[in-house]
Every structure is written in structure tokens, then in C-alpha cells.
Subunit: 137 residues, 4 copies
């Protein structure tokens, strides 16, 4: 089961092509990952203050299938693929919803690999086991 987070498209998200600017899908991906972590009881700001570590993205890839437009109502998903001491691999999708129906159209899909690093030195650290446990109950 993938985690789902709803997003509305605002003027800020679009470009002069009349569609959502391609880099913004990585922002939507990151919002959904943040909410997924919060839902698991992981607050990144608190984690950083307590452990001195934070997630940084090491790899990302996206396929853009259909464009999103102003005022669209989207669902962004997060599906954990791998979790280890080095970090996480997540599959993510952006789906267009039709208000009042169950229809969903896949607009964009991709994957993101996040590494856990020391917030000061940005050197890789081992992901704290309590974070792993919260993600793999």
C-alpha cells in the first residue's frame, strides 16, 4: 500500500507552457515524502536536532506522461522500495483525480534514493535504527 498525499496546483506551480513546470514534480515528491515520514512519527527537524543527521537525495528519476494544469487536484504517492543503514529508495507517482469520481490518471512517476548524512559535514552516516523501525514496523 502506497502512502498518498493530496496537492492542489497553484499559479506558482505552472509555467508559460500552461502546465506544471517539470522541476516542481520533485517538490511534490518531497512534500509527500515529508508527510509520509511525519505519518510514521519521523519529524525531520526534530531528528536533525536530536541525531545531527538528515536525509539528502542521492538519485532521482522521473517520467512525465501527461501534464498537470492550474487548479488540478493531484495525489502524490510514496512507496518504500528499500530501507537500509545507508538510506531509502522510494517509488513515487503523481496522479490526477477527477473530483466526485474515483478516476485517477497517472501523470508522472519516478524514484528517489535518499541517503542519511551528518548535517554538518554532509558525510554519510548510518541511518538510526529507530527511524528504520518506524518505517518497517
Amino acid at each position: 500500500m502506497a502512502f498518498e498525499f493530496p496537492i492542489h496546483i497553484y499559479w506558482e506551480d505552472t509555467d508559460a507552457g500552461g502546465i506544471v513546470y517539470y522541476a516542481n514534480y520533485l517538490r511534490f515528491f518531497e512534500r509527500a515524502r515529508t508527510e509520509w515520514l511525519r505519518a510514521a512519527g519521523i519529524h525531520q527537524r526534530t531528528m536533525r536536532e536530536q541525531t545531527g543527521g538528515m536525509f539528502v537525495v542521492a538519485e532521482a528519476s522521473l517520467k512525465y506522461l501527461r501534464p498537470a494544469r492550474l487548479e488540478d487536484e493531484l495525489i502524490v504517492t510514496v512507496q518504500l522500495q528499500e530501507a537500509g543503514r545507508a538510506g531509502l529508495l522510494m517509488a513515487q507517482q503523481v496522479l490526477l483525480t477527477e473530483p466526485g469520481t474515483a478516476a485517477r490518471t497517472l501523470l508522472c512517476e519516478g524514484s528517489v534514493r535518499a541517503a542519511w548524512v551528518d548535517a554538518q559535514t554532509l558525510k554519510p552516516k548510518r541511518l538510526p535504527s529507530d527511524i528504520l523501525q518506524k518505517l518497517n514496523p
Copy 2:
């Protein structure tokens, strides 16, 4: 004499209205202020490491006269209005240029008040005198 900094408009700057998104003029203002400080020998990252202080914007106001569009070539200006131990007040403009001519059209103008604060506590600090001297030769 105002400091001038050139900016090209890219897809990321525009919105579905076909024009530059209104919040982005504050980004352009800040780029020009950063380059103006650099031209005066003030590097904000170094200043922060050396003094523990940084600028934060306390007030901003903008008037949008004409829109900018994709691939426009703009000039962003910075004119220091006030400089004191509490911070700086700057007048800024965004002008559209016509390549190959001297013509300039005012698109946006505004003012920005920046305060100097402790980078950790964000509490007001007195602006270091060497910064003031670099800005007021």
C-alpha cells in the same frame, strides 16, 4: 547611481498566465542585492562564518506596472536609500531592455528593508561597521 544586474527570464520564472509569477520579482531583487554586496566585497556566506550575523528582510513592497515574459532580458537595480547599525533600506527596479537598443521600460519597482540579525537566534544585532564602510565609501 544605481547598481545594475542583468537577468534572463526562463520557463521556471513564468506562470500559466504567460507572464513572470509575481513572487519571483522578490527573487530577482535578492539576486541583484547579492551581486551588489559582492561587488562591494561583501560575501554573505563568509560574513556569516566570520561574524555569526546575516541579513533578513524585514519589509518589502512592490508595484507591478508591466509584465515580463519568457526570454525577456531584464535589468534589476539596487539603490541604497539608508544604511545604519540596524540594517539597510534599498530601492529596486526591474527594467525590460530591448536588445540592440538603449530603450528600457520599467516593469516593477519596490523597496526592501533588510535587518542584520544573529544567524542562530535571529535576534537583531548591530551591523558590523566594516560592512557599513564598504557600502558607504
Copy 3:
């Protein structure tokens, strides 16, 4: 009574100062205005397709009182001050909430004047009366 819209702060909203980047408050203001219009039955994309008109911001001003940080939970308000055939004037605030309490701290306040223009020519148009009626029941 002001319209209220909740916003979470994500990594994309912050800068290396550890706080929300000053231009992003205009993005938050615009999200809240869009949701306020939607709540009044005004969908900007539909309006544009039906009337050929759209809102553009003519003036904006902001005062930054306290910074917002990563994972803060904010309320953005919209209070209509004036509504006429030329456009709208709105007062807006950004408030920090404390989860589990009723406490709210004012972080940023400002005003935005929006004009109604022809979406092609960007020339001023008279705001359609049905929009005015929806905003002034």
C-alpha cells in the same frame, strides 16, 4: 471574518538561513487567495476559459515579523478590503500555530491589490459582476 488556509513548511520553502525564504510568503498568500476564491465558487482556470480574463497582482507589500521554519504549521488568512470593477484589495496574514493548542503567533502580514485583465492583451478589464457578487453576497 477572514478566510483561513493551512500550510505546512517543506524543505523547498526554506533557505540556508534555516528559515522560510522571504519571496515564498507571496506564494503562500496566493495559495490562500486561490482557495478563498474556490470556496466562493470562483475557479480561475474556468473563469479564464469562460470570460477571457484573469487576475494579475498590481501591488503587494509585506512585513516580516518572525521567521517560519521547516515543518512549521501555518495559517494563511485572506480578508477582502475592497472589491470593485477594477479589482480587489486583500489583507493577508501568516500565523504560526502550536499543534494541540489555540495559540497563534503572527509571522508576516501584508496586502495585495489584484487587477482584472484580458488574459491575452493583459489590458485592464471590468471585473465580471458575477465574480463581485460571489465575493460580496
Copy 4:
């Protein structure tokens, strides 16, 4: 030989981790592609007005090797890998420069596939041959 475009890092580009926000590398990639097209005599706004077509990104992938920070001076490259009637495939890199030296450190690399579509319907169109000729002299 790759096309090279310089970029300075401003506050807007960074996040509370003290480094450049991961989505912004796609913005840097796009700026460099736009300047590379301009250098080849291809102005996207003009092309759209003349041909009714525009580029949209179909696929993007990135590897983040080292972070960029505030005030860094970067070079963004564009290397055309494939050019056909369906669109373009480009390899791109972001390199950190050391002012006053020839040293360059690879921070981020990736690839972007751009398709040519009808600007209204967003349906695939054949890339105009004069664009292809300008890119493959």
C-alpha cells in the same frame, strides 16, 4: 564539446540543510538548455509563435554527488546525445568552479529527454527540420 553556462547560487536556491535544494538542479539544467538553444539561434518564445510547437520534458534523471552552497559559482553543461523528429536527448552536468583556478568538481549529472509537442493540445509533433539543422550543423 559541451555547451557551458555559468550560474551563481543565491539564497532562493538553498534550503534549511544549508545546500542547494535538489529540485533546483532541474531549473539549472533548463536555464543551460535555454541558453544553449539561444546560442544556436533558437528562441523558444518565437518558435512557439511561429510554429505552434514547444519542447516538453519527457524524462529526466539526476545523480547528486556533492552539494552546492550559497554563493558557489557553478558551470552547467549541455551535451546533445540524440536529435530526431521526436525530440532531443541531452546529457547535463553541474560543476563547481574555484574562482581564480581551473579546478572543477562535478556536483551533479543527469540526462533530459525533451519532446516537441503542439503548444495547445500538447500532442507530439515532428520537430521542425530547421531546429534540427541548427542543432546539427
